[in-house]
Assembly symmetry: none
């Protein structure tokens, strides 16, 4: 009988997240002083990890014995076992971002089956986001948004691997009620579409090595019509860069031969929403 209860209570939280959930779950039913410690523990987990029972108790404003009762109430056999969980958290919290990425890559190598592939792509995406977050030039961003915000129609130009980004931009611009034209290759009417563009419009062109010849060709011809181009590409030597008024260099990490799109995606979203916001602002100013 008492064994039954003991067995039930022995579902001791072994990782910090479970512990946290358990505490939050029982919060209402905890006695005052125990609740006081519970709150302190969740607010200052590092102190629990490093402190002694006495020092923690003093910081939390309770007696050491209460601390131990708290631990026991959670199913631990004493403060020390509770503390282990808080220490594990610090160990496993794979600390610095770079270390985390390394761990993710290691995991991708070590993981069994197709999980490894998935981990690899997550690692590639994280790396790419990290890189672009460091390297993106604020001025370029501002310039690109100004340029695009002034355009009557925004043409979106991308093929193959970049096409998903282009289709997302088109979708988002549409949702923001910004006139845009996605230049698809399917219909074979690209040349005609491009012919409509004027210097009052603008282009977002996306292309990565190996650059789709069609994209380059279309970018060239559209720039010769005096239409300003914002380019997203992967190197300063990219043929796109020479046609562009503003261009972004985005270095995407790859895995299994497939490059991530996460950084490009984030940039695309920022451009789109940035343009939307800029238009709202200037529109408001004109009215006011």
């Amino acid at each position: 009988m008492s064994l039954d209860r003991a067995t039930m209570d022995e579902r001791v939280p072994r990782d910090f997240e479970t512990l946290r959930a358990t505490i939050l779950d029982r919060r209402e039913s905890l006695p005052k002083r125990i609740a006081q410690i519970a709150a302190y523990a969740l607010d200052n987990p590092d102190d629990i990890a490093f402190g002694t029972a006495a020092s923690i108790a003093a910081s939390a404003g309770v007696q050491p014995s209460t601390l131990i009762r708290f631990a026991q109430q959670l199913g631990f056999d004493g403060f020390t076992s509770l503390q282990q969980v808080f220490r594990e958290r610090l160990r496993e919290r794979n600390s610095s971002y770079d270390e985390r990425l390394q761990a993710l890559r290691a995991k991708a190598e070590g993981a069994a089956g197709h999980r490894a592939i998935f981990d690899g792509f997550v690692a590639a995406a994280s790396t790419s986001l990290n890189d672009i977050s460091r390297t993106l030039d604020d001025t370029h961003l501002e310039d690109a948004i100004s340029l695009l915000a002034k355009a009557e129609t925004i043409y979106v130009l991308a093929k193959r691997r970049s096409y998903p980004v282009a289709s997302y931009i088109a979708y988002a611009l549409g949702k923001l009620k910004i006139r845009n034209q996605l230049i698809e290759s399917a219909a074979g009417l690209n040349a005609e579409m491009i012919a409509f563009a004027t210097p009052a419009d603008a282009v977002i062109a996306i292309s990565f090595s190996p650059y789709a010849p069609a994209t380059i060709e279309e970018a060239r011809s559209i720039s010769e019509q005096g239409v300003p181009i914002v380019a997203i590409t992967d190197s300063s030597f990219s043929p796109l860069a020479q046609f562009a008024k503003v261009w972004f260099e985005v270095a995407e990490a790859d895995f299994a031969g497939f490059r991530s799109l996460s950084a490009t995606m984030a940039l695309a979203m920022a451009l789109t929403v940035g343009v939307g916001e800029k238009r709202r602002d200037t529109g408001r100013k004109r009215k006011g």
Copy 2:
């Protein structure tokens, strides 16, 4: 004179990096046992942070007194002060992943101009990747890949916001020479396309709330033909889930009203490449 030396030696390393540098610097001139501890300390910093002098000494294969001598040689007045440095390291590794995300979000709020928007999308993407990395079920992944690998043709079904992912899957499947059919809404021939699908085929369907009615309708009719569906959606209550043989719940973070696609993208890439690998493997087996 002895005071002079004392003063010099009192340049105690207070942060881990300095300490590390000091140890590496003096490595050559350290006595054997001390060097043994030094190596252990740099290799297992977490153990130093949490262990007791006795336990660490045992792990490193030396006497506790040697550990203390090591600390003193570095200018600390005992093992405890040395340990503080290792503990600080764990605390101050401010760049824990979660904290980094928080910092990024804070940056997004604080940053001037459109940089804030960009940071916001990067943060959303990182959060999403982090979440899916924790929550993705390996078994589902294996099941989905097996299912798709057996398909004669893989149909890819997605509208609106999910469409970029679908177009990427189609692109990647094509590159891997896997027969696939992207079901687009433009041409209005979806019903006819769907009619071709047989139980020997398979579908990847992607839809998030608010679910595009067309996607749901198409998923229903295709599942009634006995074609197995792998669904990527955002909740267990999603209408897609009920038609699917395997389904993934992907929670994407959002910013400025636009949800990230990074987690969905990573999953899509893993599925695609996973299928490609599985087919190569089974193909090889059949031949051999």
